[in-house]
Symmetry: C2
Subunit: 196 residues, 2 copies
């Protein structure tokens, strides 16, 4: 029986970054096919009444420690981004545009953007920084910028975000295995059990 894993993410979410680093291994270990689902987390928060955990100062402080502990457990690099929160509208439109037009480039794009934000602590609110990061990763920043202005891409990100909420998504990362939903990079062990 083919096993499918839906992975909803936004590049502005540090927990989604940690999940992003672990999903390829999870797919290898379980034989699952990963379906990457770009969405706009800000839109999810607006639609569901949820808020970023970073809005509660004591929770934000704790989360930095917690994400660091998980990063060490996973053996991946992680650094808190001092420019957080990042407005990810353009970055997620580009992700959606790539998925629509050059789907094989979505994962390399995500790798580059996640690393820029959550390892190299780059200021991805600054278009010049975004351009530099993307050029260095082998993308044409002008072509990606054009994608972000394409009405079909804009609409697709909106409707994908609405569809995620309709399915029960209220935060990121979120996973689905069949009808079971799992929220959080800290639920990857349950995701793995569901895939086995």
């Amino acid at each position: 029986m083919p096993k499918d894993l839906d992975f909803y993410f936004d590049v502005g979410s540090p927990a989604s970054y940690l999940a992003w680093t672990q999903v390829p291994r999870l797919a290898r270990e379980t034989g699952a096919t990963v379906h990457y689902r770009p969405m706009l987390l800000g839109g999810v928060f607006q639609a569901t009444g949820n808020h970023s955990p970073m809005e509660v100062p004591l929770k934000s402080r704790w989360m930095k420690d917690d994400l660091g502990r998980f990063a060490r457990r996973y053996g991946v690099e992680y650094r808190h981004n001092p420019h957080f929160p990042i407005n990810t509208l353009m970055l997620m439109r580009a992700a959606m545009g790539l998925q629509m037009h050059e789907p094989q480039r979505l994962v390399p794009y995500g790798d580059a953007v996640y690393r820029a934000i959550w390892v190299d602590a780059r200021n991805m609110n600054d278009p010049a920084e975004v351009g530099a990061v993307l050029s260095q990763a082998g993308f044409d920043p002008g072509a990606l910028l054009a994608l972000t202005q394409d009405p079909e891409v804009k609409d697709q990100l909106k409707s994908a975000t609405q569809a995620a909420v309709a399915r029960g998504v209220f935060g990121a990362p979120t996973f689905f295995v069949g009808g079971q939903m799992f929220w959080g990079q800290d639920r990857l062990d349950f995701v793995k059990e569901a895939l086995q």
Copy 2:
């Protein structure tokens, strides 16, 4: 070197209930001494700007599944309480009063109240139900009610809650091992690592 585990809890929190069922095993496995720290979660939310996850309908729906999955993993009973949220002011004052005057009875009291709320789905917003639960567990409801009206007990719960927030607590359950803070029953594996 003696190892100490501070465990901050409120009986109205289902995640605190799951932690409550696991803490004795954790203490046995690590040789740690558990310091039970009653606090008023509503007071913590008010002081920190945090909110109950149950206030976001999609999150609340997911949490019921998630708590059920953890309960199965732990091998403990868990049922969502239809009378949730429970106003725990009197229940936590009684917990604090017991800790001040008959500390050896705090854990049996917690066992009885947690089971009533999170296994038997009793309506602990109803004083008559509370009285029945406590009588059955061998407590004198009148004596506990008197404790909840004792100014020293009231003050102690207030100051313990303030002290928790001052230490960084924003939700329940919360654990401290030395200077390290861990939030959530889903962080018990990290708590165990810190104790080893």
